[in-house]
């Protein structure tokens, strides 16, 4: 194979694996949903779920078809780009999700913008001045942040910034976002809370990855060329640590789409994670599936992206 085609072949191979993974997840989610007690009709009727009412509603919603054929129907629809209709409110799933997803992505995007630069510079800085006071402070801070439950961080943030100091709104959704400063204010709180949660891991991994490359002969060589510490780390160690750093960032960011359920709950922010929880509690199969697909796609694309970055940053594989 020509050398220049090789990276693309690797990329295509990874995409293929990702696609296969998606199908596996889809089936797993389907069987998991089937295992849940109760179905959408029972759940919808709640206390009013008399057998007759449930039967009537099931009939009316077309739930009497076997689940597997409904699922296969949904999969076929998906192949044509149709996510189906929600059982619960008969709305187009794509429409239901699109709003929530754009909310989630907005939050994730802002958090990424804030946390990734901070986390990377702290991690690299700590590695650069390993063993210094700065390194120790960063290490202690990250350990403390990792060690405190997320809902504590979020609740404390609201208490301090919104209730006591009255600097920031306690809610992010639906408040005035007409100007940039208003938008920054509106998103500040969840972004702060989320940044705390995901940064710690990124800082740790970045620091470890950079330290590992600092301990290589070529960085020692740079030192012996008279390079400054900054040049050694930024010019020599960092480019070779890109792969593992990208991986760590991807893993942390993948959390931002599906894992933010607690932050969404506390800030009553309508994102996809809450949508999925709703969908599960109402056994809304098309919605559950679609949400699971979104989580999986975002996870896989981040991981694949990290892989590709690692590939491209390494001339030996390029």
């Amino acid at each position: 194979m020509p050398q220049s085609l090789q990276p693309w072949f690797l990329v295509i191979q990874r995409l293929g694996i990702a696609l296969l993974t998606l199908v596996i997840v889809s089936f797993a989610v389907f069987f998991a949903t089937e295992l849940l007690p109760g179905d959408v009709a029972e759940i919808l009727l709640g206390q009013a779920a008399t057998p007759e009412a449930v039967a009537g509603l099931r009939e009316a919603m077309g739930l009497n078809e076997p689940a597997i054929s409904r699922f296969v129907g949904w999969l076929l629809g998906l192949a044509q780009g149709d996510l189906g209709n929600s059982y619960v409110n008969n709305m187009d799933v794509a429409e239901l999700i699109s709003g929530r997803l754009s909310n989630s992505l907005k939050l994730a995007g802002l958090t990424t913008l804030v946390s990734v630069p901070i986390a990377l510079s702290l991690g690299i800085g700590a590695a650069m001045w390993r063993g210094s006071l700065f390194d120790r402070i960063v290490t202690v801070l990250t350990i403390s942040v990792i060690s405190v439950p997320e809902f504590m961080v979020a609740t404390l943030a609201v208490l301090i910034f919104a209730v006591w100091l009255d600097w920031l709104p306690a809610l992010s959704y639906g408040v005035d976002v007409s100007s940039l400063s208003a938008m920054l204010k509106a998103y500040a709180m969840p972004v702060i809370a989320l940044s705390f949660v995901i940064s710690a891991q990124m800082i740790r991994m970045t620091r470890a990855a950079v330290i590992e490359t600092i301990n290589t002969p070529y960085v020692e060589m740079a030192l012996l060329k008279g390079a400054s510490r900054k040049r050694m780390v930024l010019g020599h160690a960092l480019p070779n640590a890109l792969g593992p750093i990208a991986n760590a960032v991807a893993l942390s960011l993948s959390y931002l789409v599906g894992g933010v359920i607690i932050v969404e709950t506390i800030f009553s922010y309508p994102g996809v994670a809450k949508l999925m929880v709703d969908a599960v509690s109402t056994r809304d199969l098309p919605l559950i599936q679609s949400c699971a697909m979104i989580f999986c796609v975002s996870y896989l694309s981040l991981i694949t992206l990290a892989d590709v970055i690692a590939l491209l940053s390494n001339p030996r594989l390029r």
Binding site: L44, R100, V163, A170, S268
Partner: protein, 536 residues
């Protein structure tokens, strides 16, 4: 800023306000306050604050942001399917019922001009004229017939299908007159029609992604599980329409977050605030609270057809083992009234005040358990966060049990699926019953032999026949006496222990005026949007 006594809480504020609403004189109030140890001067200023909250002049305009406590993709604008407070609030804003209940629990006409019957079996509903839907169409008898008939169609999935089933015929007489024939006499029909599910929608409506009603607000945005935005209906049929220009409603499920959002001024209204937050709310001058006791309760159900509920003495023993005071004080932090094991609350005019709540008496319970032969055995109780405070109540019973050698095991199960999997099914479990406007609905839903939600499987022919008699009785005194007797039967015979009626506490910005408690539930029976205003 008003100086308030240290131990004064929003609960007391709310109580004073309620008394003013009920018509107490200033002198009565001051006397009451003095007796509870509040200095006269402080008492005076407290009264000032309370009175101004009740009696201010309405102001038009403004946007109200209110937060409920639950919301999901199952949110609906279809009144027949409405199941959460969130749905009720929205339906009240966008639609109207034929009748509604005022703060005193009295039936008032809304879309109906009159509702009349000679025999309580065949009813004639005359509609108001000049009422129009948001899309401009005029309200007519067809709309009412369509709206009521929907509940009989199983495909709709109506929550009140079983109540509506008694309407055997719903037909149009003329453009503004509807005839409703019942299977058997029921004098409560006007009250039944005040249920939130019986909102009137336009004839032929199938799409409920936007609401087309006659209500005080027009639906502008509705995103299930996210929010709704409503704007004032300029063509509202009532003389005094909504004061607010617009009304945004969404849910913040986390209590703490809801309270914090209110305290930080991001919302104006936080519904159903946990009593534990009261101490925090007390500290703020910008926030008031509204407490309504409407007959919502969480009860302990012991099925009489299953072990151990079928053992004579067990049920009574459990009723004595319930430390009602501890439940009221600890689990509800005082935001509850002690109940007497029957479902008709003091907010209802048929409430029987002669039935005294059982005292907490572990020794007596012990004797009863011994008699039932269950002392020392393990008794599992199923509780869930789905039934308000049931886990705390179970814990309290468990503690009391451990003192007399009863091994009560609390089985906390997830809220998700609780109603379909555990409620009515487990031998001992908790239920949570929302307020219903009439004893008839309560009894036929919960206690008659063929009741769909017969929580303890209570069966009594005598009870059944009394229910039918009271239902058809147009003589108010006769009805009251039958209902009093029935309450006594439930309290003593049924396997449902009702320790307290839960008060609902809503917290809201001090700018908000016009709020009153309503027996149908918090948020003025969910209809507050139409009646409140924002002071500047």
């Amino acid at each position: 800023m008003t100086k308030t006594p240290n131990n004064w809480t929003s609960r007391d504020d709310a109580m004073v306000e309620n008394m003013i609403r009920r018509g107490a004189s200033r002198r009565d109030l001051l006397k009451m306050l003095m007796s509870s140890g509040v200095a006269a001067a402080a008492g005076g200023s407290l009264l000032m604050r309370a009175s101004s909250a009740v009696a201010a002049t309405p102001v038009s305009g403004g946007t109200l942001k209110a937060a409920g406590w639950s919301s999901s993709t199952a949110d609906t604008l279809d009144p027949a399917k409405a199941s959460l407070s969130t749905d009720y609030v929205r339906c009240c804003a966008f639609y109207n019922r034929l009748t509604f209940l005022d703060e005193a629990g009295q039936v008032q006409m809304e879309l109906a001009d009159t509702i009349s019957s000679d025999d309580a079996k065949t009813w004639e509903v005359k509609l108001k004229s000049g009422v129009s839907f948001h899309d401009g169409k005029s309200l007519s008898a067809e709309d009412v017939v369509f709206s009521l008939n929907r509940h009989l169609d199983p495909a709709v999935g109506s929550k009140v299908n079983s109540i509506a089933a008694q309407m055997t015929e719903i037909s149009k007489v003329d453009d503004l007159t509807v005839k409703i024939a019942l299977a058997s006499p029921n004098a409560d029909l006007p009250t039944i029609l005040a249920l939130h599910h019986f909102m009137i929608v336009a004839d032929g409506t199938t799409d409920f992604s936007k609401a087309n009603g006659t209500g005080a607000f027009i639906c502008e945005v509705f995103e299930p599980g996210v929010r709704s935005i409503a704007v004032k209906n300029p063509n509202y049929f009532k003389e005094q329409g909504a004061y607010l220009d617009s009304f945004e409603f969404f849910a913040i499920p986390d209590n703490n977050a809801r309270v914090n959002a209110l305290l930080s001024g991001d919302i104006d209204y936080a519904a159903a605030v946990n009593p534990r937050s009261s101490r925090l709310l007390d500290g703020s001058d910008d926030v008031s609270t509204l407490v309504s006791t409407s007959g919502n309760y969480t009860n302990l159900n012991m099925r009489l057809d299953m072990n151990p509920g079928d053992k004579a003495g067990f049920v009574e023993g459990m009723k004595y083992l319930l430390n009602r005071e501890a439940i009221q004080k600890s689990a509800f932090r005082g935001f509850a009234e002690i109940a007497n094991d029957q479902p008709v609350s003091p907010a209802n005019r048929y409430h029987n005040p002669n039935i005294k709540p059982r005292e907490f008496d572990p020794e007596r319970a012990k004797a009863l358990f011994e008699k039932a032969g269950v002392l020392g055995t393990e008794i599992p109780i199923t509780a869930s966060d789905a039934a308000t405070a049931s886990v705390d109540m179970a814990t309290i019973v468990q503690q009391a049990g451990s003192q007399i050698g009863m091994n009560i095991k609390v089985d906390r199960v997830p809220s998700d699926g609780y109603w379909s999997n555990y409620w009515l099914k487990a031998p001992i479990h908790f239920g949570n019953i929302n307020p219903r406007p009439t004893p008839d609905i309560l009894f036929s839903l919960l206690y008659s032999s063929d009741a769909p939600w017969n929580e303890s499987q209570y069966k009594s022919e005598k009870f059944d026949s009394m229910l039918i008699e009271a239902r058809g009785a147009l003589d108010e005194e006769r009805r009251t006496s039958i209902y009093w007797d029935m309450q006594e039967m439930v309290a003593n015979e049924a396997g449902t222990a009702i320790p307290v009626y839960i008060s609902n506490m809503d917290a809201f910005s001090a700018k908000l005026g016009g709020l009153k408690a309503n027996p149908l539930g918090g948020m003025m029976g969910y209809a507050f949007a139409e009646y409140v205003w924002l002071n500047n």
